[in-house]
């Protein structure tokens, strides 16, 4: 059940990282609507398929619009919405399987277009809803139902992938640190261009990474998640790439391209510059007169 719909029967497992992401999104949207005096209906949440996508039905409080589509296609759906309605705030909720496996082909084109949408990618390193198969971010050599000999494919590095694709704004976060996550999502929504907030959101049933992310300094176990030092300049692409490729998972604002003209502004600018005018159907037909 959800707060707004007692009949809705989907549940996340207890302890699922996605709960934290949901709270952060609710908080960021609440902040945004107040700050801009913008009705919540100006926001559309485009959801992928998987545990993460169900967030769109579980959202509490004032309800934004939602579109729960098909596997892997959040990005082109969001592109279409934003292309025809630049006034809308378009937010994607997706997971590592939906976004980085079946949907990976869409990251590059959207980055080059620089669509003004924000994607929140919940990475649990596993296909949860289909019960524990390997995903692109599952560790090398891990045994899962689809990798009985241990995973033979290298693990994908999502942050490196986003940087290489040319995504304009990239942040990395932990689902357990809701306040920081909320701030990053808020900043990403405000950013004029394609932004991704990649969240480590552990799956307590199939891939519980809470302990690994946190580490155990007392026992000499380094945390996998490492805060990005304050000294990092987010406009420094090479520095961001070094962090993405470095040890552990950098957490914080990784990259923020200083100059970013989103796709709908590029189109508007080009039309203005070239002075294109809409001809009526009648005029166009008149041009074919014989």
């Amino acid at each position: 059940m959800s707060k707004r719909n007692p009949e809705y029967d989907f549940k996340w497992c207890p302890g699922c990282g996605d709960f934290g992401v949901k709270r952060a999104i609710e908080g960021a949207l609440a902040e945004r609507t107040v700050e801009r005096s913008e009705p919540i209906e100006q926001t559309v949440i485009v959801a992928g398929i998987g545990c993460s996508g169900n967030l769109v039905h579980l959202q509490e409080g004032p309800q934004p619009f939602g579109l729960h589509g098909i596997h892997g296609r959040t990005l082109p759906i969001a592109w279409g919405i934003k292309a025809v309605r630049p006034d809308l705030n378009v937010l994607i909720v997706s997971g590592d399987g939906d976004y980085l496996s079946i949907g990976a082909e869409h990251i590059g084109p959207q980055a080059k277009r620089n669509i003004d949408v924000t994607a929140v990618v919940m990475d649990n390193g596993v296909y949860g809803l289909t019960k524990g198969q390997a995903s692109p971010t599952t560790e090398f050599e891990v045994v899962t139902p689809t990798t009985p000999y241990g995973k033979l494919d290298d693990k994908l590095n999502p942050l490196e992938t986003y940087l290489a694709a040319g995504v304009s704004f990239i942040a990395s976060a932990l689902s357990s640190q809701v306040k920081q996550l909320q701030e990053l999502i808020k900043e990403a929504m405000d950013y004029p261009g394609f932004s991704i907030v990649h969240v480590q959101s552990p799956c307590t049933t199939y891939n519980d990474t809470y302990a690994v992310l946190k580490g155990n300094p007392k026992e000499g176990i380094e945390p996998l998640a490492r805060p990005i030092p304050d000294s990092h300049d987010p406009s420094d692409f090479a520095g961001a790439m070094a962090l993405a490729r470095g040890r552990g998972i950098p957490i914080g604002r990784l990259y923020r391209k200083p100059e970013s003209v989103p796709s709908h502004e590029r189109l508007r600018g080009a039309r203005e510059r070239l002075g294109v005018k809409q001809q009526s159907v009648d005029d166009l037909l008149a041009g074919m007169k014989i």
Binding site: W79, A83, L285
Partner: protein, 571 residues
């Protein structure tokens, strides 16, 4: 004197054979003739056998013509592979720089490139050939001169020289043809006078303009033969500030992006062909399930897989009706002519808004790519359907009721989740059996809003009737008229609304002894559908990548009719 003739320019890709036929058609249309072009070429930029032809007539034209009156053969291969279609008494103009033909009785060898160089305009080889064609067909050169003046007058300083060069080339070609002493034996009648305003328009232009007249504001596509022309035409012409036209990076992106556009409240459309349409299957299921209005134009080519990218076929009807998995039946409108392409596209956009779901505009290479003179479509006759938009009174219960319900548009009241999973009234996922039953029925019930299609019916008392669909309408109509003139007792039915069929039409078809469906596919896709609806329909099929020939079709129809009467006699 004669009523019509067909000129075919045959050579290889890149030699301007398609351009030659288009120029000739444009010139003939300019002076009042009816024209229709058809081209076939390989999927490559340079080389490979290609031909383009123009039919020029004093009366309205229904098909591209069975036989060729003048064959322009630019190489030996083109001659060898097209000469069989030259009618008795036809003439061949061949490129004498490339090959020689021994028997001179029907052949005119013209060194077009050499003459073009001599004319001072090396690029005028086409004009040399067109001059020769005009002479042989008995078309006064002044018609073509007028056309050349209009076409090359671009308001630039060098225009005069180019015009002069091209006119000189026309005359050189005509003189060369005159020297041969050949002719078609008769010259074309004077062009008819017209009381209606006419336009020379291509099928894809007509479809785009129809969609624009119905208010399309978003068009996103991916290049694919033979549907690319719709995308490029939209890119060039749809550019108001509130509109969006874009190139996606795959057909999966095209369909999902226009789902976004339709969901966000804009009339949205894409164009594609076979392989791209297959990729859209899952997205079309989402649009059906989540009830998102949009239009997909499928410009059919030969399939399956990469198939015959530049040829024409009517083999996508089944996939248009059911493009993806699961229970669905998409509305399909298939125009039968260039003129109908305008109205079909406009109606497809209107249907999508009315029933709130995806509509397939099913056309084909032979219609999309041909030029034809038609009465100028009156765009003011298109009444753009306005989507019933939610005013918030039913709050977020977007999927309430058993028919189309007010559509909540983002930014306005009624926030809900448009959902591709089975869902309840507010769009939340559910797997309850009774909800799936209710929602499935809701989706199918909405189709009844589209049972408004019109149809043609003639000689309805006949027990055997002909009912073509799509681009086979033209040749079928010509065959029907020929048979009817010969006293054959055959009825005629036609509609471009293939799904849902106009209910009254279906009722009439069920009473017939035999419904003959000429269609360009192996399976007999429409007749199979009709048989499942209780109509005794059988197809005349052809799958050559080319349209029907009227003569062949007429004899095949008569054979089918004889078989029926034979059977009746035995009973």
């Amino acid at each position: 004197m004669s009523k019509n003739f067909v000129v075919r320019f045959a050579g290889e890709g890149g030699q301007g054979v398609v351009g030659g036929s288009e120029i000739l058609a444009a010139a003939a249309a300019q002076v009042g003739y009816h024209v229709l072009t058809f081209a076939t070429y390989p999927s490559q930029i340079k080389g490979g056998p290609a031909w383009g032809q123009a039919r020029i007539s004093t009366g309205p034209i229904l098909s591209s013509g069975d036989y060729v009156d003048i064959l322009v053969a630019l190489n030996r291969y083109a001659y060898d592979h097209n000469i069989e279609e030259l009618r008795e008494g036809g003439v061949v103009i061949y490129n004498s720089e490339d090959f020689e033909l021994a028997d001179g009785s029907r052949f005119v060898g013209i060194p077009a490139d050499q003459l073009a160089r001599e004319s001072g305009n090396p690029r005028a080889a086409n004009m040399i050939v067109i001059g020769a064609v005009a002479y042989l067909a008995g078309m006064p050169l002044r018609y073509l001169e007028g056309f050349v003046r209009q076409r090359f007058d671009r308001g630039r300083p060098g225009d005069d020289k180019i015009i002069e060069g091209n006119i000189k080339a026309l005359h050189m070609g005509a003189e060369e043809a005159a020297r041969s002493g050949l002719s078609l034996g008769s010259s074309l009648d004077d062009p008819p006078s017209h009381d209606q305003e006419r336009v020379l328009i291509k099928g894809y232009e007509a479809a785009c303009l129809g969609a624009m007249a119905a208010g399309v504001e978003c068009f996103i596509g991916y290049p694919i033969s033979p549907a690319t022309t719709m995308l490029t035409y939209m890119e060039a012409t749809l550019n108001a500030p509130h509109t969006f036209v874009g190139q996606a990076s795959s057909e999966i992106e095209s369909i999902t992006a226009i789902i976004g556009g339709g969901y966000a409240g804009k009339k949205s459309m894409t164009s594609t062909a076979g392989p791209g349409f297959s990729l859209m299957g899952e997205g079309l299921g989402l649009a059906w399930m989540a009830e998102i209005p949009l239009v997909v134009a499928n410009v059919q080519r030969g399939g399956p897989a990469t198939g015959l990218p530049t040829k024409t076929e009517q083999s996508d009807l089944l996939v248009a009706l059911n493009p993806g998995h699961g229970d669905m039946r998409l509305p399909v409108i298939a125009p039968g002519s260039v003129e109908e392409a305008f109205w079909a596209a406009a109606e497809a956009v209107n249907w999508a808004e009315r029933y709130q779901g995806p509509v397939i505009l099913l056309t084909e290479a032979s219609i999309a790519e041909r030029s034809q003179d038609v009465a100028r479509p009156d765009a003011s006759r298109v009444v753009p359907e306005k989507r019933a938009v939610s005013d918030g009174r039913v709050e977020n219960r977007r999927y309430e009721g058993n028919g189309a319900s007010p559509f909540p548009v983002p930014g306005g009241p009624g926030a809900y989740v448009a959902n591709g999973s089975e869902h309840d009234e507010q769009g939340d996922t559910t797997h309850l059996p009774d909800v799936h039953v209710r929602m499935t029925q809701r989706r199918f019930n909405k189709l009844s809003l589209l049972e408004t299609g019109t149809y043609e019916a003639e000689r309805t008392e006949a027990s055997v009737v002909l009912m073509p669909w799509g681009g086979s309408k033209g040749p079928a109509r010509e065959a029907y008229e020929r048979l009817a003139a010969g006293g054959v007792d055959l009825g005629w039915y036609y509609t471009m609304y293939l799904s849902p069929l106009p209910p009254a039409l279906l009722e009439e078809l069920r009473t017939k002894e035999l419904v003959i469906i000429p269609e360009l596919n192996y399976l007999g896709q429409l007749s199979g559908q009709l048989r499942s609806m209780g109509v005794n329909a059988h197809s005349i099929t052809q799958y050559t990548g080319l349209p029907f020939k009227v003569g062949e079709l007429a004899s095949e129809i008569q054979e089918r009719m004889r078989a029926v009467s034979g059977k009746l006699a035995r009973v």
